[in-house]
Each structure stands twice: as C-alpha cells, then as structure tokens.
C-alpha cells in the first residue's frame, strides 16, 4: 500500500471488559451467536463440543459460605500480538488459514483454507478456538435469520472470534462511500460490545488516544489473562477485586497484580 493511501498509522483493535460491571448474563454470547451464524444442537451441555466464539467462565474465590464470591469472565479471542505478530496460533498454522493483520491487530481465520488439523487449538492457551465436528443444520425455515455478512462454517474446520471483522469492513465501505479516510470509534463496535446490557465491554483502537480503551487499559484495575506467556493479548480486564485479578495468571503468593506490573508492555 502506498504511504499516502494509508490511514493514520496501523490500528490495534482491542477490548477492555469491566468485570465489576459484568454480571455474567450471557447476552454477549448470544449476540455473538446471532451475529456470526453460530449453529446449535439439541444438547449443547458438553462445552468442548459447543461452538461458541465467546464463552463465559465462572470464577470463584473458593472460600466457604458466607465468605464465598463469584465473578464471571467473558472470553472472546484475545487476538494476541505476541512479539511482532507471532500469535501462538498463527505461528503453528500449516495452511496459513489464520494470520495476524498488523494493520488492524486482528487475528483472522479463513475457513476455506483451514483443513482442520487443530494445531491452533492446541497452541491457543485461552481455548478460544473451536472445531466443527458436525455440519451445521438449522430446523426448517430457521436459516432465514442467517446473516449474509458472515459465512456459515462447515464440518471439519476450526473457527474463532473475528472481532466482528465484517463490521469493520462495513464501516470502512461506508466511510469510503462518504469520502472519509477514517472511521469513527462508534462506527466499528463488535456485536458483544453493542449488546452488553451492563455496558461492561469497551472496544476500540488501543493505539488511538482518543478512544476509550486507550485510557481504560491503563487503569490500576486492569490485567490480562496469562500475560507472562508472552502472548501479548489485546483483551484487557478490569476488576477491583484482588482475587479476580490473581485468577488471571499464575501469580506467586507475594506478587502484586494490576497494570504495568509485568512484562509485555505495549509497543504502540
């Protein structure tokens, strides 16, 4: 791409999820399924087989009643940057079906390239990837609600959260049609961010100081999951509860949590 056609430098789309606000209601999951044409089967209680891009994990502090506490943690794909785009899954894919886009920071998944070896699933430390063991089947007439912006996935391939990449494309198309170079912050929001009834999810460009995520990720409440693996994830979590922050990684007993305490500082 020629320099003058570039937008203001590369974007790095990321997410900040406020676990103090998140109630674990599951609207993000269903918004994602509805937006991204997720299939469903009669029994979805085996979560290893259940195709969901975003899952909610229930954390507990393990204390007995009445000192017990629980917290839900929504887990989309972390869109790991690793070091210079070496995300764990991208590094292992033999089919180049998944790639790190340095212009957006989004880890893509190209379904027609994937041949289902599932190396990426083994490499992903977040269990963010799922394999389609069956062809998707909708009850008669129900395929009417499928979203044409997202292709339906078939048996034998791996899929994962795309940060609703089709919404970025749509926003870019619209901006182009209106003669704009830049898209506004609110023009590109993922389906889960848009739906969250608690307003717990914030999405935007981590490189752009004008975007809400830029400031939020520097909060003392902020942490990331399994940071010390060097995955350099682009999903940040906020929690005012120490035990929740500690649950995000394998901390030593006397080690503090929170932003800036660890390696993996962001390279803008």
């Amino acid at each position: 791409m020629k320099e003058e056609h570039r937008q203001d430098g590369p974007k790095k789309y990321g997410m900040v999820i406020d676990l103090d606000k998140c109630t674990g209601c599951g609207s993000c999951m269903v918004a994602c399924m509805s937006e991204n044409n997720a299939p469903f089967r009669e029994d979805e209680s085996d979560k290893l087989l259940s195709v969901a891009w975003l899952r909610l994990y229930k954390l507990t502090n393990g204390k007995p009643y009445p000192d017990t506490d629980v917290c839900y943690l929504p887990r989309p794909c972390m869109h790991c940057e690793g070091h210079n785009g070496h995300s764990p899954c991208v590094s292992v894919c033999p089919a180049t079906a998944t790639d790190y886009d340095s212009a957006t920071g989004i880890v893509s998944q190209i379904y027609t390239r994937c041949f289902g070896c599932r190396y990426c699933m083994a490499a992903c430390p977040y269990h963010a990837r799922v394999f389609n063991w069956w062809d998707p089947v909708w009850p008669d007439g129900m395929e009417k609600y499928l979203n044409p912006d997202v292709s339906v996935r078939m048996r034998g391939i791996v899929e994962k959260c795309s940060f609703c990449y089709h919404r970025l494309q749509r926003a870019k198309d619209k901006a182009y049609a209106e003669g704009r170079r830049e898209i506004r912050e609110d023009e590109y929001q993922t389906a889960c961010t848009q739906a969250c009834p608690a307003g717990a999810i914030t999405f935007g460009d981590l490189n752009n100081p004008k975007h809400a995520v830029y400031k939020l990720r520097k909060s003392p409440r902020a942490f990331r999951l399994l940071e010390r693996l060097g995955t350099n994830p682009k999903v940040y979590y906020l929690s005012s509860r120490e035990w929740v922050r500690r649950a995000g990684d394998n901390y030593l007993a006397d080690e503090a949590t929170g932003a800036g305490k660890h390696m993996a500082e962001h390279k803008g």
Binding site: C25, S27, M33, D43, Y65, C71, T112, M154, G156, P197
Partner: protein, 746 residues
C-alpha cells in the same frame, strides 16, 4: 523378473521423486478438502437491502426498545435501540433471541383443533372461520344455560388494549373471571395504596440514587425492567455509589454488590425493621420529612377513640439489634453499621421483592421497606421511590351489559380476590389448581392468552390435572407450549415482531412510559392478531355482546381507544409521561406508616415453607438467571446453549448444595439424586457450591419444558412442579420463598 538391489532402489527413488513432482496427490487432497466443505446443505444466506426497523420487545415485562436489522424481508438480528429510555442500546439474551422465536420450529402455523386425547399431540389444522365459530358456539351455549360466569380468561397483563378487549368481552358476556398472574407489582401496588392512598405503581429513580439497598431483589436477574436495572447498576458503580444485597444465597446480584448480607432465608423484612430501629433510636431519620409528611410514626388516637401504637414503638419495642441479629443470623455490629451508612447516605433507596419478582411476597415486608425509605426521606424525591398513579391511557366507550351479563358479573370471582377474605388482592391466580378443584363452581371454559399456566404457575403438576378437567380449553399461544399442548383449540397469535399493539407502562421506571409495538415483518404463518380474534368472537356471539364491539378490526379499535396518542406513538414509538408531584391521598393526607383505614402495617411475617421437617430436612429455593426465561415465554435454543455445564448437563439439571450438607448426606459432585418436596419429586444432579448455605438446595427456574422442540424441551426439571404457594395472611398472595425438601441418592 529379478528385483535386485539396484532395481529396487531405482523404483523406490524414482517413485518418490515422481510422487513429489506430480501435482496429482496434492491436487486431490486440496479438492477433497474443498468438496467436503461445499455440501449443498450448508446454507448460503442470501444478500439483500439492509434496513432497520424500530419496535418494542414484549418477550418479558422489561419492554426494551429494539432495532431490528433486516436483510431484504428477512429478520436477521435484533439490537437495542440507542437512546431509548428503558435500555439505551443494551439488550438481553431473550431479546436477542427474537429471530429464533420468529422462525422457530415451535411456532403454531395455523389454527389447530384437537383430534386425539387431551395432550396427545394429534391436531387437525382448521380455518380461522371454523376456529372462531367453534369458540363462539361454546360460549353461546354456556350463556344460553345462564352460566356465562363459568368461562374464565387467563392473561399476563390486565393493562393494554388486548387484555382490556378480553375483559370487555367477558364483561358484556357475563363473567367476572378475568385472571392474571400476580407478582411483586401487585404487592408494591398494595403497599403504595396503604402508605400513599394512591392506586398505581412505584417508580425508582436509580440514576440519582447514591446507596441502593436491595432486600433479596434480583436486580441483575430480571427484577423490574432487566436491562434498565443493568444500566442502573453500572451507573451506580461508575459513580462510586454503594450497593448492598440482602439475600441468603450468593446470587449474581449479591456477588456484584459492594456488600452481601447473608441473612437466613425469609427474614429480609426483620432486617428492614431492625434497620428502622437503629435509625429511629439513634435519631438518624429525616425529621423534617417525617414531621411534615408522615402519619403514624408516633402513637395516635383513631376515630373510635382507641389509642394506637405508632411505628416508632413498633420498631423500638421489637427489633433491637440483638433480636434482629438472632432472627436474621447477621452480626449486631453489621446491622448497626448498615443502618448508619444507609441513613447517612445522601440519596439512599431500598427495594424489595425476591428474585425476578414472580412471587408476590408479604405486604408487611413491602410496607417495612417503604417505611425504611420514608424514614430516610427517600419517598417522592429524586433518587428515591416515586408514586406513579395508574395511567388510564385507553379511552373505551362504556359497554352495556344485558340481563344475563349483569347476573353473571354479580357472581363471586373464582379466585376470591377482592372478596371478604382478601379485600386487597386483585388476583389470586397462584392458587389456580386448588381453586379449580374446590372453588365455588366449576370452570367450563378457559381462554389462555399470553400465559403458560401449566408450566409457569406454582404446583404445576396439580394444575395440569385440574386444567385437564376443564371441558373446553382455548389457547391463543404463538408457540406449542405446555398449555397449548393440552388445549382443545389453539388460535395462534402473531408474535410481537409481526403485530401492532400498545405496550403499557413498564414497572420500576421513574417515569410513566407508553409504547407501541409495531410489526417489523409480515406474519410468517397463518396466524391472526388476538385482538382481531376477540372482535370476531364477539361478532359471532351477536346481540348485546356484538354491540359492544363496533370496530371492524383491531387496528381501528386501537386507533380509537388510543385517541390522540396513536399518531405520536406511531411516529416516535414511545411517549414519556411526567413525574407527578409528591402527594398523599390517604385519610390523613400524609404518608401512613400504619394505614389508618385497613390497619395494614410494616411487619415481619415469617412464611413457613410447606412440609414436615422430619421427612424433608432441607429447604428448596428457586433462583433466577438471565440465561433462562422463567416466565410464559420459553428459552431460545441460543439461551439453552449459553447455560453453564454446572447448571445443565445432558438432560439433567444440577441443583446447588453446600458441600457441608452434601458431606452429611454422602453426596458428591454430579451424583444423581431424587429431589422430593411435598409438591412433587424429580431426578436431578448435585452441584457442590458454597453459594448456598448449609441445609439449602437451590434450583434454577426456567428449565424442564415438556413441550416446544428438542432444543428447548426435555432439559432438566420445572421448578414449579416442586413448589407450592403459601399465602400471606394479609394480602392472600403467594409469599413462598421455598419449600421443605429431601435428597435421596439413586
């Protein structure tokens, strides 16, 4: 041919080089992977023009504004409407599931007539003309026998034009038996009337509250208008306000609160009065408000010259921190600290009504929480609880009753609501099973619209038997739910995405909000608007009944009764009312701690769960989760998919049991057990959890559907099969927070 070493190597190496060079195997592998991914049954969603249509979601009482994304004429996605006064862009799982309901396999596709045995599932599709004439014929026969009062009607609402069309039909026909399921809205309405003298509902000004104290209200589990409450909670957090949850189980509302007060089950009202005690004793109450606006704080002399104790004596005498601590199981110091913090907050607010609010609770408890709000001056001010008088926004021409109708209407209501025993109650539908069996007279026909009593009312096993004895059961359900499956006739309504209908004000919002649900797509099947069907039934009945329904169809009726509102609603989708000024219409013209007329007062009325402690050593309680719809609208396939595997595993529901209790009973994680209560028994599995106290078994509401499709039905157990209602002695409404239970390993 002799194969020597040289020849062998030549073949081997030649073969390997040849295989590596020819593109054939690679091409074949590539093609196979492409072929196996291009089966014709993998759908390719057609493209089309994208459009957005605004309407209202009426799947739950929350009434969120929705923006429906359409591609061509297909409904593809439902999103929350930005800037809407209820949800401002947010939306819940149920609301998101709209497209699955619209195109779902459980939709009833045409009017159906039962041909097999009741509940057998054998149907004959009939025309709408036949369906309407069959209902009218039956109703005509009963009226000719001067038994019009034996026709009943069960609705989810009594406000709104369709509910009032039903009420109008039954009035001119001659039956007082229009019923709706009571909830905390009813108890709040009573408490508002007892304290303010106003008929209406409370509104909560949560945007300006600085301290929210919730007595078991599942403010993040469907209480009030769910998404509105989620928004309010996040707003409170962002503004560093305090939230305290009083509840025996660590619900998500308790977990998200700043402080969780783990009380003994059913003792929330005692804590409310204990807090009042501390606030009064330490003179922390708002003296200006109490002196200026309140009656019954101090002792007073009634009209008969009798001396009546005031609220002050009531709480000072009975609810010392020591007593309250003993009743609730909390520490004295915690009670005192909470009372002080609550009283000292600038704009505190207390709310009540357990869980998502489906069980009405006791009037004494609601009045206690009202009294607590009044003590801190949070009645009728910003950040507090407001009184919103019932808005009569529909203007109906007065119906004329003939002699048969007038006679029928004089009959006692089957549920005894508003009678001598329970003068305050409007509806006592929670006891429908008992009423159908032992009521004053048998019900010969029941019209069910927008409700699913076989699933949704407590004691559903008994109710199912009782409903089976009603000779003629008509369902207006859009889905083949449990009640429709038992019906003689199913007259399917359009679903909310296909119909035009007014939406009455939402409970809990600080302002009255009138909305209009507008069709976003054409009806998918041969369904008909229930409003139209009522008018057609009335016409077919003829005479005085038909005369009360002069409209050609529902739409013209709606336009007439909405009057001037219609045009504005049609344009904007909603109409916000104003917050009325603080006023009291009681006998004293003040806020009455103790009602001077009815003597209803704040009280801790222990509600004893049904059952023998010896046989049933544990207590079963239900809990609400946003991922399961506990009401008349079932879950969607997506919602069931979202449920944790610690709640639903294969076909089994997991109940929460404290590890201590499980240890005593010799139960381990995942064990299959029989959960028995006085109301019923069911096979469940055990999930060990510290979220419940020892001795308690907690089970989610919203599972155990037996009808619908395999994506929704046949999963877990319906909580309502295991619970039975317990009446509040004052209001007569169901106040059961649990039932005694036992677990036996199988």
């Amino acid at each position: 041919m002799k194969v020597g070493r040289r020849r062998f190597l030549a073949f081997g190496i030649g073969g390997a080089v040849g295989t590596a060079l020819t593109p054939l195997p690679w091409k074949l592998m590539d093609d196979i992977s492409i072929w196996t991914q291009n089966w014709p049954w993998t759908p390719v969603p057609p493209k089309g023009v994208v459009s957005h249509v605004n309407s209202v979601c009426t799947l739950c009482p929350g009434r969120c504004g929705i923006t429906v994304r359409k591609v061509g004429d297909r409904v593809v996605k439902i999103e929350g409407t930005k800037g809407h006064p209820v949800n401002d862009g947010g939306i819940c799982l149920l609301g998101l599931s709209g497209p699955q309901f619209l195109y779902g396999p459980s939709r009833v596709r045409s009017p159906l007539k039962r041909v097999g045995k009741r509940g057998e599932g054998r149907w004959e599709a009939i025309s709408w003309e036949q369906a309407v004439s069959e209902v009218a014929k039956r109703m005509g026969e009963l009226r000719a026998k001067a038994e019009p009062h034996t026709v009943g009607c069960l609705l989810p609402e009594d406000r709104g034009s369709v509910a009032q069309l039903f009420a109008r039909l039954l009035t001119v026909y001659g039956s007082p038996n229009v019923m709706r399921r009571p909830s905390i809205e009813d108890t709040y309405e009573m408490a508002l009337y007892q304290t303010h003298g106003i008929i209406g509902r409370p509104g909560f000004d949560l945007q300006k509250t600085t301290f929210l104290l919730s007595f078991g209200s599942g403010y993040l589990q469907g209480w009030g208008s769910p998404v509105h409450m989620f928004r309010a909670h996040s707003h409170l957090l962002s503004n560093s306000c305090r939230v305290v949850q009083v509840e025996p189980r660590l619900s998500i509302s308790a977990a998200k609160a700043d402080r969780w007060m783990a009380v003994k089950p059913g003792t929330e009202a005692a804590l409310a009065l204990g807090l009042c005690h501390v606030i009064v004793k330490e003179s922390l109450y708002d003296k200006a408000f109490v002196d200026k606006h309140c009656q019954g704080f101090d002792a007073w002399t009634d009209e008969q010259g009798q001396k009546q104790p005031g609220f002050k004596e009531l709480v000072l005498g009975n609810f010392t921190p020591a007593t309250t601590a003993e009743i609730t199981g909390l520490k004295q110091a915690d009670i005192i600290e909470l009372a002080r913090n609550f009283a000292k907050a600038s704009r505190p607010l207390a709310i009540c009504g357990r869980g998502n609010g489906s069980v009405p609770g006791t009037l004494g408890e609601f009045m206690a929480v009202y009294a607590l709000n009044a003590l801190v001056g949070s009645v009728g001010r910003s950040g507090g609880v407001l009184a919103l008088p019932e808005a009569e926004y529909l203007q109906w021409p007065a119906p004329e009753m003939d002699e048969v109708a007038a006679k029928g209407m004089q009959q006692q209501r089957l549920d005894g609501a508003g009678g001598d025993k329970y003068p305050l109650a409007r509806y006592r539908t929670s006891y429908l099973a008992a009423l159908l069996k032992g009521g004053g007279y048998p019900l010969k026909m029941l019209l069910v619209a927008g409700e699913n009593p076989v699933y949704d009312l407590p004691g559903s096993t008994e109710l199912k038997k009782a409903l089976a004895d009603i000779p003629f059961l008509v369902s207006f359900s859009s889905f083949m739910d449990e009640t429709a499956a038992m019906a003689d006739l199913v007259l399917p309504n359009h679903i909310y995405l296909e119909r035009l209908e007014d939406v009455p004000p939402v409970f809990g919002l600080p302002k009255p909000l009138l909305q209009l649900c507008r069709p976003v797509t054409a009806p998918q099947f041969d369904t008909r608007h229930t409003g139209d069907v009522i008018i057609q039934i009335a016409r077919a009945l003829g005479g005085g009944v038909a005369a009360a329904f002069p409209w050609p169809d529902y739409e013209s009726c709606l336009k007439q009764v909405l009057g001037g509102h219609f045009a504005r609603l049609h344009k904007d989708g909603y109409l916000e009312g104003r917050v009325p000024e603080l006023r009291f219409e009681t006998a004293s013209g003040r806020f009455e701690f103790i009602n001077t007329e009815y003597k209803a007062k704040p009280a801790y009325t222990p509600v004893i769960p049904q059952g023998d402690k010896g046989v049933f050593p544990l207590v079963l309680t239900g809990y609400d989760s946003m991922r399961l719809a506990g009401g008349a609208v079932a879950d969607s396939p997506f919602m069931v998919k979202s449920v944790d595997d610690t709640v639903l595993k294969k076909g089994d529901v997991l109940v929460e049991v404290n590890p201590h209790t499980a240890g005593q009973q010799g139960l381990a994680e995942g064990d299959a057990v029989v959960l028995a209560t006085p109301a019923g028994r069911a096979r469940v599995r055990v999930h060990l959890s510290h979220r419940v106290p020892p001795g308690m078994v907690a089970m989610p509401r919203g599972l155990g559907h037996t009808a619908y499709d395999p994506f929704i039905g046949g999963k877990g157990v319906n909580f309502n099969e295991l619970i039975a209602p317990v009446p509040d002695p004052v209001s007569g409404l169901d106040a059961a927070w649990g039932i005694r239970a036992s677990l036996t390993k199988v």
